[in-house]
Homo-oligomer: 359 residues x 2
């Protein structure tokens, strides 16, 4: 049994992006120091973390020193290498745990796991060859989406296959990486559930938020989502079933397709993320306790915070050179600008976000 | 003319306490890096600042290196030595400026300055000797308060003189430091105005907050304050007159006594602080833009944020071992805990605060 975590403790964070940056800020409010670990010295989290290690995720000595300098470890991206987690986990509590990481970083494992809980997912097939893909498309029909099993994010590692497209081109585009193909889900809209689970099984979910994507990247999140309270509770129950089955500790995000049918609406799980999530950024100003503070509370084994929403909320990502409008955005009364401090505004890169809460 | 400040710039902060810590967090949200300068390596601001210098305020080489590493400089306490400011100010924009610092760090200069603007202050006399004090008490009567001209905070450097007390003991208690004595103001309650002024003269004030002190230390801040809107505007106008006269840049706090008389209520300025202030902590959750973000916006020359209040607000300081209740406080739904990460909970030391906002 690990020692209870108290203010003054140090939380190690694997990953140095804006999610790590916002976790570090939330941790500081609670008196928790942070130590960010990331191979890229220019990473946003280093600006606010109490300490930092710039080293490769494969650097075993650096990982051991990092573990020795912190009281517990979390991560801000799901592609933490298995070996990295295996080095850290025996030395310090790793929250969420290795099972959540292993499940979420492989789309085939994740979909199989969720489906085994009796939760609807898009129809899918494992694909290891062009022949597999041809066979799967014959089963699932088109449109379909071919996705790499690992390392996909923001629409990367995905190819949409339309009626009439052969399997060859799509397969070649993914470069022969192990993949899955998913049948198309005719969804009306997309929501996500951001929820937290503590080491004692305590659970708290934010209400579902309505997400709009463009080019595979989240553009806006809005609340209320348009779902009924009963639907919101059903969505939270799905997230809880997943979290319980993973013995999950921390904030977890589940993206859901909402399908409208004659009999009503139903949910299909799109994917999960074992971490704080872009679609939860609205909670910084729009909920009593932000997803970042909630994550720190959960991994520390502290009481979970209130997920109550404080108004009508709209969050918009600032992608690429949209961040150049920062000064005009600052002049909009009541708008909250978050600038991640990234030095280069590459196209498609998340540079910041803005949130408006209307009481 | 200095270069315009843009996200990615580094804000130097003289001082390393919780105010500097909260400025650093607010700066990070806006993409501004921070560099804290403080002689004490255990200071709270170092946990979140992007860079830090541990050096004496008299260390001229360290100050020059610090100035060379940042784009502009602010401070989180008004007792920055004159010489420190004189070294930094020619190298980088110092905001608020030297005039604000010189005025606010000497009670005699401050009161003389405010009175010269036609703004009511408590009756006061300069005191350089026991004989001065005796003469002043004969003029002002008792109760009266003897205060050192410099370096007082949280009730330190103050002695209350009651009817029948001779001047000798009070004078001895302050150790012969240059002082002022103030006549007693029969106030009904105390409020403060937290306001910001930009380099272009833009001005924005939060509404007055009701402050309760105990033992010279702020205990609680509440809003609404009980003042009328017209009284709130009058209080803001006092703050603006002071800020304009100082050509002030940044957040400024003015503490006011509210005196109830037959004809109505009137304000008497108690003191000013050329910085973010404990009585403005409520703005983190209780206003659209916090005093810390507002300070960063102002010193950077950016548009000021919305000071709109989002609900009924109560802020309470956690003094000394009150911080030990952190876990129980975290369990209260909707309560926001701020733990400053200080390692030792000395009696009278501000260790954190809690805020509740009721819509």
């Amino acid at each position: 049994m690990a020692e209870p975590i108290r203010p003054g403790a140090t939380l190690g964070i694997l990953g140095g992006g804006q999610l790590g940056r916002m976790i570090a800020v939330a941790a500081a409010q609670l008196g928790i120091r942070t130590h960010a670990y990331c191979p890229d010295a220019q990473s946003p989290a280093f600006d606010v973390a109490s300490a930092g290690t710039v080293a490769a995720y494969e650097d075993e000595d650096a990982l051991r020193r990092f573990a020795g300098a912190v009281d517990l470890v979390t991560y801000e991206f799901e592609n933490v290498p298995e070996r990295t987690a295996a080095i850290v986990a025996p030395l310090r509590p790793l929250r969420p745990g290795v099972k959540a990481l292993a499940t979420a970083q492989d789309r085939l494992v994740e979909k199989t796991f969720v489906a085994a809980l009796g939760i609807p997912v898009a129809p899918f097939r494992a694909v290891g060859s062009e022949a597999d893909l041809a066979e799967a498309l014959a089963d699932l029909g088109t449109p379909a989406i071919l996705k790499t099993r690992r390392f996909g994010y923001d629409g990367k590692g995905q190819v949409r296959i339309e009626a009439g497209d052969g399997p060859g081109e799509a397969w070649a585009q993914l470069g022969g990486a192990p993949a899955i193909v998913e049948g198309f889900v005719p969804f009306a809209f997309e929501v996500s559930i951001v929820a937290a689970r503590g080491p004692d099984g305590a659970f708290a979910a934010y209400e579902p938020c309505l997400n709009e994507h463009r080019g595979g990247i989240l553009r806006t999140t809005r609340l209320p989502s348009g779902l009924t309270d009963a639907e919101g509770e059903a969505a939270a129950a799905l997230a809880r079933a997943i979290a319980d089955a993973l013995d999950y500790v921390g904030v977890l995000t589940v993206e859901l397709f909402v399908v409208e049918e004659a009999g009503g609406r139903r949910f299909v799980v799109n994917e999960m993320a074992p971490r704080v999530h872009n679609s939860g950024h609205w909670t910084i100003e729009g909920a009593e306790c932000s997803q970042f503070e909630q994550h720190v509370r959960a991994v520390c084994g502290w009481p979970l915070g209130s997920t109550r929403r404080t108004g009508t909320v709209a969050m918009r990502n600032l992608i690429g050179d949209e961040i150049d409008a920062w000064r005009d955005l600052l002049a909009e009364p009541g708008l909250h600008l978050h600038h991640y401090g990234k030095t280069r505004a590459r196209p498609g890169r998340k540079m910041g976000h803005v949130t408006v809460v209307t009481p």
